[in-house]
Amino acid sequence: MMMRSPGIAAALALLVVLVLLPLVLPKYYVDLVTQVMIYAIFAMSLDILLGYTGLPSLGHAASFGISAYTVGLVSLKVTSLFFVVMGAALGVSLALSALLAVLAMRSRGVYFLMITLALAQLLWGVAFQWRSLTGGDDGLTGIRRPSLGVSVSFADAANFYYLVLVFFVLVVVVLSVLVRSPFGNALRGIRESESRMASLGYNVWLYKFLAFVIAGTVGGVAGMLAAYHIGYVSPADLGILLSAKVMLMVILGGAGTLIGPALGAALVVLLENFVSAQTERWTLILGAIYVCVVLFAPHGILGTFKLKPRQAAET
């Protein structure tokens, strides 16, 4: 408890700052922070799998992209009512991650990595080739911001920012409660030793399955918000580059925490925005960041500066 109250105080202070930001920041930066929060949600969702359960998915973009495509298809062809679109998008990403979980969880270790990658890349291929439904590599354009049936317009950057903030806070609260719950402890136990948890009577498969589905659904939240944010979905939203980028965010910030991935997401998004404005060679620099993180900060920023003794003891 001694640890938690300052943590909660800091979180509340951050929340106040986030609430006040649109009042002082220009529109460009409001958009940027919106983007940071969306990717923070995405990175935190992967961390449930990667950091807490020890399942290194290299296909996490699947849930992000399928949700984004659902938003695109439903809002362009059926209705723009937010709750309908959201229900469809999250339902589809939940169903998809359940399916992927069943397939991928038959394997472990490096096979898990390769299979999650191959499955996500397959969806990428379907999105790329099924032109009549998905628009192929042109993607789906002209996705309007959601309508809640009230007079608030989310086309306005600040209003949309607050919508994303609501989801961000919700996700942070839900995931914080989750990782501190007995369920979260069981996930960490599985990460440390699957066989020990199994012999203690835990249904390891079910826990891993649920972790996968939760991660996929929260990833779907990020994909939904991203589709609304930029108004555009393309196969890249399902692709390996995004899956690897979100993995980098998690590792860069510090896996096995919730702050870490959010921090990593903020760093990568901000760097990408500022570096891309300066040079065409962002990919080169991003590649160098990957290499440097592995060589110099394998436990992420949090691990390097804060948790060094404990992390070192763990490994």
Partner: protein, 284 residues
């Protein structure tokens, strides 16, 4: 009938190309526990280097030699100075090799530009053979022959030579092999370099019909991964059978269901995984 023959033939030549790629990827993981996502970059780099050499010297054989040698050196550097430090740490390997994938991809884009390019065929294989209604380009015959030759060579090397026996022992139990006094680190570097060289060879040889373009590295990597998943990690036989399966499925998929080509490759992969999670010839 003509359709089936031509597609089977095209599928076979693509399958042989895939085998050149997947052999190195599979053995690198099976032997030294390295998952190298930059393996597709060797293909890309091999194809681009080959293109440059052909353009300047107009010599296909020289292009193969230069590309293979250069990429083998790159493989040695990557393995000795980077990957070796992250043995059995798959997450670090993934991020590290992904970094290399980005760096090599972007440097190639910088040097060779963004337009898709096709390598010229060697003049020796310009012609086509004709069997009734079936027209068979001799270049594809050459690719199939080359793939079979490499497969046979690798198989003989692995099964009949003492170094091959050491490699097999290393795949089974690396520590024990080292304990017997065998210099496994050196062996690992050599095997890794050979795998990289084969991928570069695939780049030059595949250049005339698959072509080379930004993003080819990732696309080729996916194919090679699916081959390894189907065949089983660390098994040459698995890589060979997997290549045949994927090469043929991809060709027929593209010809019969153009909108869902990747799905025809995926469905069998999912089926095989459900039946055998470690692939056809992999160890649990």
């Amino acid at each position: 009938m003509t359709f089936w023959l031509v597609q089977t033939f095209n599928g076979l030549s693509f399958a042989m190309l895939l085998f050149l790629l997947a052999a190195g990827l599979s053995v690198a993981y099976g032997l030294m526990g390295i998952l190298n996502l930059a393996h597709g970059s060797y293909y890309l780099l091999g194809a681009y280097l080959g293109l440059t050499v052909i353009k300047t010297t107009n010599n296909f054989l020289l292009a193969i030699l230069c590309a293979v040698a250069a990429v083998a050196v790159l493989g040695v550097v990557m393995q000795r100075f980077f990957l070796r430090r992250f043995y059995k740490n798959e997450l670090a390997q993934v991020l590290l090799t992904f970094g290399f994938l980005f760096i090599i991809g972007d440097l190639s884009l910088w040097i060779w530009g963004g337009n898709p390019q096709v390598l010229p065929k060697p003049s020796l294989f310009e012609a086509s053979y004709r069997f009734g209604e079936v027209v068979v380009p001799s270049y594809r015959v050459f690719v199939i022959g080359l793939g079979l030759l490499v497969a046979l060579g690798l198989w003989l090397f692995q099964e009949k030579t003492s170094i091959g026996a050491i490699i097999r022992a290393g795949v089974d139990d690396e520590e024990m092999t080292r304990g017997l006094g065998i210099n496994t680190p050196f062996l690992f570097t050599v095997v890794f370099a050979v795998g990289a060289a084969l991928a570069a060879l695939a780049g030059v040889v595949g250049g005339p019909f698959v072509g080379v373009y930004p993003g080819a590295d990732i696309e080729i990597l996916l194919f090679a991964l699916v081959v390894v998943i189907i065949g089983g990690v660390g098994s040459l036989k698995g890589a060979f059978v997997g290549s045949l399966v994927v090469g043929l499925l991809d060709n027929f998929g593209k010809a019969l269901f153009p909108e869902l080509a990747l799905f025809t490759m995926f469905a069998p992969m999912a089926l095989i995984l459900i039946a055998r999670p470690a692939g056809l010839f992999g160890k649990e």
